[in-house]
């Protein structure tokens, strides 16, 4: 069977002279074109890692699909929430600007604070849904003072319109709270809550 067409192919028994070789019992009795095979046991670290990767995969699947695994979209949203909060903080430190106020609107946690503040300070005149009571409806596209930009809203909140009954808040609230509130009112624009009829000028959607 070992009539091979090349001279180099070893006779199978040449193997036994190999110093590190396993006992001959491990050499299987079959051969293919002169190639023989040992039946060495698998290295321990290999076996452990092989089965370990299966266990890891199963454990991770439970963690990820059944347990509290965070999807890449959720972790993205979480990261962005932190980033938005940081940007808002930075914007509060800068002078008031349209883009700075816009950054505040993107920060969900800050806007939740502002909503609570709105509930305390503004609902008596503007209604619990900003639908307008004494003061105008803040959810439509019509504005009495300014062009409906965040900057204009900020001006109104900060300075007030004393002749119409809108107080100036800049002395009662912190500068940061005024900005928060202005930004929050900005988020209400265009939500069109049914309430007081539109007053003032129609402005284009910001």
């Amino acid at each position: 069977m070992t009539t091979s067409d090349f001279p180099e192919v070893a006779a199978p028994d040449a193997v036994s002279s190999e110093p590190k070789a396993k006992p001959a019992a491990d050499l299987l009795d079959h051969q293919y074109d002169g190639i023989r095979e040992y039946d060495n046991p698998l290295p321990g670290w290999w076996v452990w890692s092989f089965w370990g990767s299966f266990f890891f995969a199963i454990a991770y699947s439970f963690h990820y699909f059944v347990g509290n695994g965070v999807s890449v979209h959720d972790s993205y949203e979480q990261e962005m929430a932190v980033v938005r909060a940081e940007q808002a903080k930075r914007a509060l430190a800068e002078s008031v600007s349209e883009s700075g106020l816009e950054k505040l609107t993107a920060d969900g946690a800050l806007m939740a604070d502002a909503k609570a503040l709105f509930g305390q300070r503004c609902t008596p005149c503007h209604g619990d849904r900003a639908q307008g009571v004494i003061g105008p409806n803040l959810t439509d596209a019509y504005w009495l003072h300014g062009d409906g930009s965040l900057l204009a809203i900020h001006h109104t909140v900060s300075e007030g319109v004393p002749e119409k009954g809108m107080p100036s808040w800049k002395m009662q609230l912190t500068l940061a709270q005024v900005r928060e509130l202005a930004a929050f009112v900005g988020t209400l624009r265009g939500s069109n809550v049914a309430g007081k009829a539109p007053q003032g000028e129609l402005v284009k959607a910001p």
Binding site: V9, A21, D33, Y76, R90
Partner: protein
């Protein structure tokens, strides 16, 4: 049990042909690669010729390296070793010839069509449908020839190399067919039947398993024959070969979605891809161990045998690449590595180190045997080894550095929370020195192949006038009467019955039985591959929530579709992705991350895999149309450091308006709700082209572009990624756009 002694001869003429084809195509593939590497630092090297532009040549490089170089190498290995392992001449000489010449004809047609821009744009499956059919036919002929040889074998059991060949042949056929299902538009143009998320999934199911079953399993088979032969040592462990064979066959198939981490592919799929990739580490290393440990007792010969040197380094690169693969499949690692040169370094350590060096080792071992003479120069082979090794190291170290550098630059923010490198080109300029080192490493590798060509040619030239064809004798196989292995439970048992059963399976005695039942063995391979595939494919296609619909996403207009065809044909996906990941540095740089529902009309998908240039998914509306015209005509007039090829011919070539209707019809056939466009595609395209051309003129651009290809491409680019910013059409059916939306959902 041994039957009548029969005499026969091996067919080595076919092996000689495949061996020559291997080294010649190897030279071609690496030369094109070197040319591409140089073009990345010197874009002017394309000389403004469309056929030489990067996007068209890169597929030729990858296809030539995989299917021409590695392909011919595995055929040489299979034709040489299978005959000897099965003790039979190949089943049909006619099929062997048909296989050889058919395969070379396919390679030549690839070399002709890809530079002409005839492409399906799916990586490593770029060849258009007529060539795909030819591949399927030749592959089936090969399979018939191979299984025919098994059927008339004179060796009872199948050796492990044959197992790997079987897995290769059946799986490549399945992958090739299902990834290339298309609707032809014309002889040289087709659209994938899958769209967007599903198309991406199928492509990387295919792409990853092309690596598995074209570049791994056949090379493991090659290793199992040629390495013990060259080392003259028994294989280290039979039971390891069983375990790693079956685990590779079953697990590899699942791992494809790790190419699509953070994309619009549903995350359950990419998570499975990651987990199965991790589980692949040890099965792959099982192959490495069986290679390296087989050399025990032969290490002293490595120093003076170039064949063993190539094998040692080849198997070592296999170990490196199969450690790196699972690592890159971990999502957080992938977030850094994906779209960078890291991937390029990874595949080159595999392709040059594993596939290249195993092939060279095999060729140097084969040359004296198939040409029946001495190898012309052992010194030259040694020189090839050292040049090749140095070349690979220079290549991969440089490109790993480039990949990590660029990945870190893309995600770097300054202390004010803004991107540290908002200009994409800054991150490219930084790594260009590494591209020079890569070109140097590549030229060393190519020089090595030239030495191999010389050496093999000179060896061939000292062949005998007539090849000696030794007559082999072997007894014919008779009906198998060996006992079927069964669980033996002794009368006085010392363990639970189930423990005996467990031990029976653990000892794999049943496998010995399978090894003498080729049909059963093949069926189980098909089952392993098919079950694993279906478990991922079926949910990807059937679960509706995988691709939530977006009401404002409409089909491309006929002109935009024609522009998309140009984008596909020019191979833009080779350098630009259309997939913004939900990662802060990406959304800050490119805009809102990409949603699955945005790609429902993308036949085929264009997500890309490497950003040599920036992502384009939200390029629509970002720049004026004139910007695009000028940028395509001469990118460096806009970004001086850009390495993008100039596409001046797009401003000169006429757009084939007459062909647009057929494209729209093919899309409509695939279920794209084209509404009125199926009746008036050409006139709609002409109208939009005229409007866009007027816009370009109004912006101060040249006139007369309304009939040129550029206008379609600009229309497509300006549309990209804009749909989700639109408000859905209010009244269904009120406008053509409204109708489209209505049909879509």
């Amino acid at each position: 049990m041994s039957g009548k002694v029969e005499t026969f001869k091996y067919d080595d003429a076919t092996v000689r042909k495949f061996a020559f084809a291997t080294i010649i195509w190897g030279l071609v593939a690496t030369l094109i690669g070197l040319w591409l590497a140089l073009m990345l630092v010197k874009p002017s090297l394309s000389f403004g010729l469309p056929e030489l532009s990067f996007g068209r040549l890169r597929p030729l490089h990858t296809n030539a390296a995989i299917f021409a170089f590695a392909g011919n190498a595995i055929f040489a290995a299979i034709y040489y070793s299978s005959q000897r392992l099965l003790k039979a001449r190949m089943w049909s000489d006619a099929l062997s010839r048909f296989h050889f010449w058919g395969w070379q004809a396919i390679i030549v047609s690839a070399a002709l069509t890809l530079p002409m821009g005839i492409s399906q744009s799916k990586e490593y499956a770029e060849l258009e449908w007529p060539i795909d059919i030819a591949i399927a036919v030749v592959w089936v002929a090969f399979a018939v020839n191979f299984f025919g040889t098994i059927a008339k074998r004179r060796e009872r059991h199948l050796y492990v190399a044959i197992w790997f060949y079987i897995a290769t042949i059946v799986t490549v056929a399945i992958l090739h067919i299902f990834n290339n299902l298309v609707v032809p538009v014309s002889l040289f143009k087709s659209y994938s039947i899958y769209a967007g998320v599903q198309d991406a999934f199928m492509q990387w199911w295919y792409g990853h398993n092309a690596v598995a079953f074209f570049l791994t399993t056949p090379f493991l088979g090659l290793m199992y024959y040629f390495l013990p032969k060259a080392a003259n040592r028994p294989v280290f462990s039979y039971r390891l070969s069983i375990l790693h064979f079956w685990s590779i066959v079953f697990i590899y198939i699942w791992a494809g979605p790790h190419h699509l981490h953070y994309t619009a592919l549903p995350e359950w799929a990419s998570t499975l891809g990651m987990l199965f990739s991790l589980m692949l580490w040890m099965p792959s290393w099982g192959g490495m161990l069986n290679g390296l440990l087989t050399l025990r007792g032969a290490w002293n010969r490595v120093s003076d045998d170039p064949v063993l040197k190539f094998f040692v380094v080849g198997v070592t690169f296999y170990g490196m690449a199969t450690f790196e693969g699972p690592m890159l499949s971990i999502k957080s690692v992938n977030a850094l590595s994906h779209y960078t040169d890291w991937t390029i370094a990874h595949v080159h350590s595999g392709a040059l180190g594993w596939n290249g060096f195993m092939t060279f080792g095999m060729l140097y071992w084969l040359a004296p045997r198939i040409f029946q003479t001495k190898l012309w120069s052992k010194k030259l082979a040694e020189a090839h080894f050292w040049l090749g090794t140095l070349g690979i190291l220079l290549y991969i170290v440089a490109i790993y550095t480039a990949g990590v550098t660029q990945g870190l630059m893309w995600r770097a923010f300054d202390e004010t929370g803004r991107l540290a490198y908002p200009d994409f080109v800054e991150t490219l300029v930084r790594i260009l020195p590494m591209y020079w080192v890569r070109a140097l490493g590549g030229s060393l590798f190519v020089t090595g192949i030239i030495l191999a060509c010389v050496n093999l040619f000179m060896t061939w030239s000292t062949r005998p006038a007539v090849y000696d064809e030794p007559v082999i004798e072997a007894p014919a196989l008779e009906a198998d009467t060996l006992p079927r292995p069964a669980v033996v439970i002794p009368r006085h048992r010392t363990m639970l019955e189930s423990a005996y059963t467990l031990r029976f399976f653990a000892e794999a005695a049943w496998h010995r039985f399978w090894e003498r039942r080729p049909l059963r063995f093949t069926i189980w391979v098909v089952v392993a591959v098919a079950v694993a595939s279906l478990l991922e494919i079926v949910p990807t296609f059937l679960i509706r929530s995988n691709v939530p619909s977006i009401a404002s996403v409409h089909p491309y207009t006929p002109l935009e579709l024609a522009g998309r065809d140009i984008y596909v044909s020019e191979g833009c996906y080779n350098c630009h992705s259309q997939m913004i990941r939900p990662i802060r540095s990406e959304t800050e740089r490119y805009g809102e991350y990409s949603k699955p529902g945005e790609f429902v009309y993308d036949h085929p998908f264009q997500w890309g895999s490497r950003r040599i240039g920036p992502d384009l998914h939200r390029i629509g509306g970002k720049y004026p149309s004139l910007w695009h015209v000028r940028h395509m005509e001469d990118p460096r007039s806009i970004t001086p450091q850009s390495i993008m090829p100039a596409y001046a011919w797009l401003l000169e070539d006429d757009l084939a308006f007459g062909a647009i209707q057929k494209s729209v019809d093919a899309m409509a056939m695939l279920g794209v709700p084209y509404g009125d466009a199926v009746l008036h595609a050409e006139s709609m395209a002409r109208k939009q082209a005229a409007e866009l051309a007027d816009e370009v003129v109004a912006q101060g651009g040249p006139s007369g572009l309304g009939s040129k290809k550029i206008i379609a491409l600009v229309a497509y680019l300006q549309r990209l990624g804009t749909d989700i910013k639109k408000v859905p059409a209010p009244a269904p059916g009120a406008t053509p756009a409204g109708k489209l939306a209505q049909n879509a959902h």
